[in-house]
Symmetry: C2
């Protein structure tokens, strides 16, 4: 996370993991979600907060989910079903169920198929938001498999040379196990920054770095942008693809977003993110059984060697360490488990308000 | 391709496709490559040139391959063999054979597995350069499948915050069929620009755009860079990850490069790109059988709708069209087939020289 997005100590409080988890479970229960699923959904959100991925934890996402369940957009008790199946593939219809709850179930199916055939993939149409994509990819780790998760959302990214948003932020998550080292866990939107991170900037009144958003006419803004650039409290409606400008490779971020839209959207049968009239969150999860490719112990040894090699890169001036994807997050988990999860005071206020509304005890 | 990289008419000649193809086949034959494989290798190179991907056509790559075959690094007659197999996965050892020749064969195996199980993946260890990755991904198209190709090379990319190159340019290629529209064909390195494109800049004396390369100490250079920045005729040894700086998302380009290094390198059993003592080009190819996911005609209809939707994006000021990956290239093929392939005069000179050395007729 960029330094400016780390909540300031005076604006935040630390909440013990267990208290936060119990409160979130209670909220989900009041939403009519079956109890076992409440624990699953809470675990996904809390995992994001433990990993320091505040943009996909309780602060940004939970209140939106509560709203969408209350208005009927998210189905709390979906009748999800398998619509097509082959030895390595399962296609399911999510019946508007929360991706945060259904993607772990889909990943377990993918893992089973991977054990039988070498790899397994489950596509999920008619779904809803799945939270932090890495959560689902990481399920594969405990089976000595590599996990991948793709998810497609509504239009936020402008295509290279375009003036209007046409693609989702469409993240890619990939988790691969190591031996002694923290696992490699990549999870990134194909835009310069995640949509929730940009919403954070507006909420916390932080300027956006150069190269994040386009101007009204689609021209990339290559200087720092005030959070109220389009009006006080107004969200930014468009984000630039990773690469920011054509000369710096925005066509690659744009193309990667299309890849996700095809492999996690169109191929599910549920269409692409921007299809009119649908709050589309289609997804796909894939598990790769390492033992079908090579000796598992050798894979982990090589991963350890590789990750150590990356960490030991000589740093550039002004930096004291080189990281790899998943390393900071793993270190963050240890700290947050010990000290509690950092929540902005404004988020704590929301918890008190919603718990009061739902007549449940607020442990936050 | 950026405008400055399009060869100037006065520096170039147009060579008919057939003449170029015959000459390339003759060169490969003289290298001791079996005749059928010569046609395959030539087709891969000529396809890149037809698609306007000069960086991966005869201009940059062929002379290097000739050199590597002559010095014994590339094995012209490899005994490639299957070393592990499951219903969806085949792992092969390439015996130092040219990826350009072996990856199409691997993709045919992946297609066969995909027909049986839904998807098929072939990993290729101990390989050599495979040319334009899109060529291999596109093989899946004629079977109504989606194709993916990953390839891992020696270290060129510096990690975010790092001062020395540790990762390959590690491209990702994905090809998906459409109905009436040109297929979606994505093929991009995970660096800001491909290594060959940067070599082109040095060869053609073109300044590099801001955000492409780091300074000697690893600091991203965020202004235009003279092609002789590190000395006259000297290659740039490092390239920045897609995203250029941490604030603009270079950790995403870096992380994607690691994903390729894991899925197309470590998982092959051949290790990561930078392993000392190996000119490592490990690869993987994957085929996804659309019919295992959904109705093929519906997939193609949706792809047509999606690609038209992207093309019809309102352009930003200063631009007259919005493209999607593979569209310019498809238009380029039609033009180059009709008019001939554009070669820099310096490349034509090389052809005359090598044909003379090998005592073969030069039709270029």
């Amino acid at each position: 996370m960029l330094k400016q997005f780390i909540p300031k100590a005076e604006d935040s409080v630390r909440v013990p993991e267990d208290a936060l988890r119990k409160t979130v479970v209670s909220i989900f229960e009041k939403m009519g979600i079956p109890q076992e699923d409440c624990h699953l959904a809470a675990d996904g959100l809390i995992s994001a907060d433990l990993r320091g991925v505040e943009s996909h934890g309780v602060s940004n996402i939970l209140r939106n989910w509560v709203h969408l369940i209350q208005e009927g957009t998210i189905n709390p008790k979906p009748n999800w079903r398998i619509i097509r199946e082959s030895p390595a593939i399962t296609a399911i219809d999510c019946d508007r169920g929360l991706g945060m709850i259904l993607a772990p179930k889909a990943m377990e199916i993918a893992v089973k198929k991977a054990r039988d055939t070498g790899m397994g993939m489950v596509t999920m149409r008619n779904g809803r938001h799945l939270g932090m994509a890495a959560y689902h990819a990481m399920i594969a780790l405990k089976y000595d498999m590599i996990g991948m998760c793709l998810t497609v959302a509504g239009p936020k990214m402008i295509p290279t040379f375009g003036a209007e948003p046409r693609l989702g932020t469409n993240p890619i998550a990939l988790a691969a196990p190591a031996g002694k080292e923290a696992p490699f866990v990549f999870d990134a939107s194909t835009t310069v920054a995640a949509s929730n991170t940009i919403d954070d900037a507006v909420r916390l009144n932080i300027p956006l770095p150069a190269g994040w958003v386009p101007d009204k006419d689609g021209t990339p803004i290559m200087r720092e942008v005030e959070p109220d650039y389009f009006g006080k409290g107004k969200k930014f409606l468009s984000i630039l693809p990773l690469g920011s400008t054509r000369e710096m490779g925005s066509h690659k971020g744009y193309g990667l977003s299309c890849c996700v839209e095809i492999m996690g959207g169109i191929l599910t049968g549920g269409g692409y993110g921007a299809n009119p009239g649908r709050p589309n969150y289609n997804h796909s999860v894939t598990a790769y059984n390492i033992a079908s490719y090579m000796d598992v112990a050798e894979f982990k040894r090589t991963m350890d060697e590789y990750l150590q090699y990356l960490k030991s890169t000589k740093p550039a001036p002004g930096h004291d360490r080189v990281y790899y994807a998943g390393l900071i997050e793993a270190e963050c988990v240890a700290e947050n488990k010990a000290k509690g999860i950092l929540l902005h005071k404004e988020v704590v206020e929301w918890f008190h308000k919603i718990c009061n509304e739902l007549s449940i005890p607020c442990l936050v």
